[in-house]
Subunit: 338 residues, 2 copies
């Protein structure tokens, strides 16, 4: 496997990206290709010891920044690390592309360069969500790519998410839940109700509507929603966890008795914090394009980069794109039968 | 002021309802009317000491349960505590109605019996949200009454929420934020974009789009969204807080050193928990109907009932319904000018 990592994407590029790539190289035999400004990347690489044959650098003279308008950036910055990296996946020079850069541009580049899998109307971003206290994960699809969705899009998200969980995360016959404002079949918008119908007819292990309160408890393996709702779920979880930890810290550092107590609990507090730490869980696969793309959090540190590379390998290796392609026929039958 | 409390609504009726009413009566001079099965309510009342002239009981022979289909229940159970209680608000025998019962039935009864405020297309449920660590609150409108909304509905929610925060919660010139997937004006669905336009033209203190991650941080006083999104925000917050506390408890009760640490922190942990405790913040006003209705959480305990009664008084007293009525003209001008 050849893994191309965007050396210029995200808030901490290139230093944390390069550092994470070096760390990943110590745990895998696959080839890691860092793409971006060669002098800058080489300067970072010089800081570390690693097997030279395992990390290579490909030069790209341009960078798509987080402020660039996605479509325009992809069209005009042809020699950017992102466009060039994805072109390597298209040409078969690489099997997986990973970036912490501009999400919209990554989606657009995936669509323009690789194209959609035939029969998939809308590719989606799938985000890994920790199930707190249980060690498992849930996959949230769509986590933000498509604000407005049709019922068949939600069916596609469920299908692609199920395949990803089975082939990449080793969860056999994963359960699928549809985010709604109540568990009853009659709840929700007209689009959600129609999606419920479609999902009921599929061969997926559909458990019905789920309420938002049950998502953190791990009520199902694949959580399906439109990208607007997915974005709300992702960001609210992030904001609430951040607020609670800040509050814990405030409370636990006032007064001497409290400080002693907090000291005795420090290892437990660290455990708790690591359960929330997105950098442990790897990146967010973009599902539905003809190639393996993974988006990392914009503020990814070396640990997040390392984990995204290592956890991304089975996405390319197990040929998820082909699996999705093969499954499309069943979806079309369901949609047409409506 | 006369406050009618549904003695039969919610999981803990009538005992916690009656207990909470007795507690509230100790802190206010207003008259509290408990409506429901008279023998049951009197039996509960006998347990307590209170000024007899301050609590009265009105008999209602029927109960709308949480499983009842809302519209049918309101149409057929004319002698239910809910229908009868709201009729008392309509006739002027009471100024405020509070219930922990079936939310859908409460909305339906509000619409059928009291009717909408003229010029308000869609009444909404407004939910009080704590700003953790800061002591303040945010009002979330709509928290679940309207899954699908038009742009003018979102404008109405913002307006009604602003009036409520100013007149009831004493927040002068409250800020209004529109829930979206990014802060840029160009983000979101066509409905959200159109609502952004309308809000920009209003005299409200509109701060623009807000992201879900900033809601718990108290980014604005009134958080505006459709009822689908509001339900997701409310229930995800509830579920995530519950999961984190469960995890804290698990972590802090394993091993002797940990237990000692947790003991030293116990007062701080209690403080933290009380910040999340919905029972401290009062109920959720239903805005847009011609009368003051407040919904309590279905599992409300006596403390929640007490706080909902006490915090509900200014809703009736400050004539919020009339204020909303007076403000409708400005909204109509904005909508027509589009």
């Amino acid at each position: 496997m050849k893994i191309v990592v965007d050396g210029m994407g995200g808030d901490n590029a290139p230093h944390e990206i390069v550092k994470g790539a070096v760390q990943a190289a110590a745990s895998t035999n696959h080839l890691i290709i860092l793409i971006g400004d060669e002098p800058q990347i080489n300067k970072e690489l010089e800081k570390y010891q690693y097997k030279k044959e395992q990390i290579s650098v490909v030069h790209a003279s341009e960078v798509i920044s987080s402020d660039d308008p996605p479509v325009k950036a992809v069209r005009t910055k042809q020699d950017s690390s992102m466009v060039k990296g994805i072109n390597m996946v298209k040409s078969g020079e690489a099997d997986l592309f990973i970036s912490a850069g501009n999400t919209g541009a990554l989606m657009a580049a995936g669509l323009f360069i690789l194209g959609r899998i035939q029969g998939i109307d809308r590719p989606a971003i799938a985000s890994i969500f920790p199930i707190l206290g249980k060690g498992g994960v849930t996959l949230l699809v769509d986590a933000g790519a498509n604000s407005e969705c049709k019922p068949n899009n939600l069916l596609e998200f469920a299908n692609m998410g199920s395949i990803y969980m089975e082939k990449v995360m080793d969860i056999m016959n994963p359960t699928v839940g549809l985010v709604n404002i109540g568990t009853e079949e009659t709840k929700g918008t007209t689009i959600i109700k129609a999606a419920y119908e479609l999902l009921s007819k599929s061969s997926m292990r559909f458990v019905g509507n789920i309420e938002a309160r049950d998502i953190p408890k791990g009520v199902c393996d694949v959580v399906v929603c439109d990208g607007f709702t997915g974005n709300i779920i992702l960001k609210l979880s992030e904001g609430l966890a951040w607020t609670i930890f800040k509050l814990l810290k405030q409370k636990f550092t006032s007064g001497i008795v409290t400080k002693v107590g907090a000291l005795l609990l420090s290892s437990k507090l660290k455990e708790l914090k690591s359960e929330f730490d997105y950098s442990e869980y790897g990146g967010a696969p973009i599902l539905g394009v003809k190639g393996a793309l993974v988006k990392m959090h914009g503020s990814s540190n070396a640990n997040a980069v390392k984990n995204t590379i290592l956890k991304g390998i089975p996405y390319a290796e197990n040929n998820v794109v082909q699996m999705i392609q093969n499954s499309v026929l069943e979806l079309e039958e369901i949609i047409i039968s409506e």
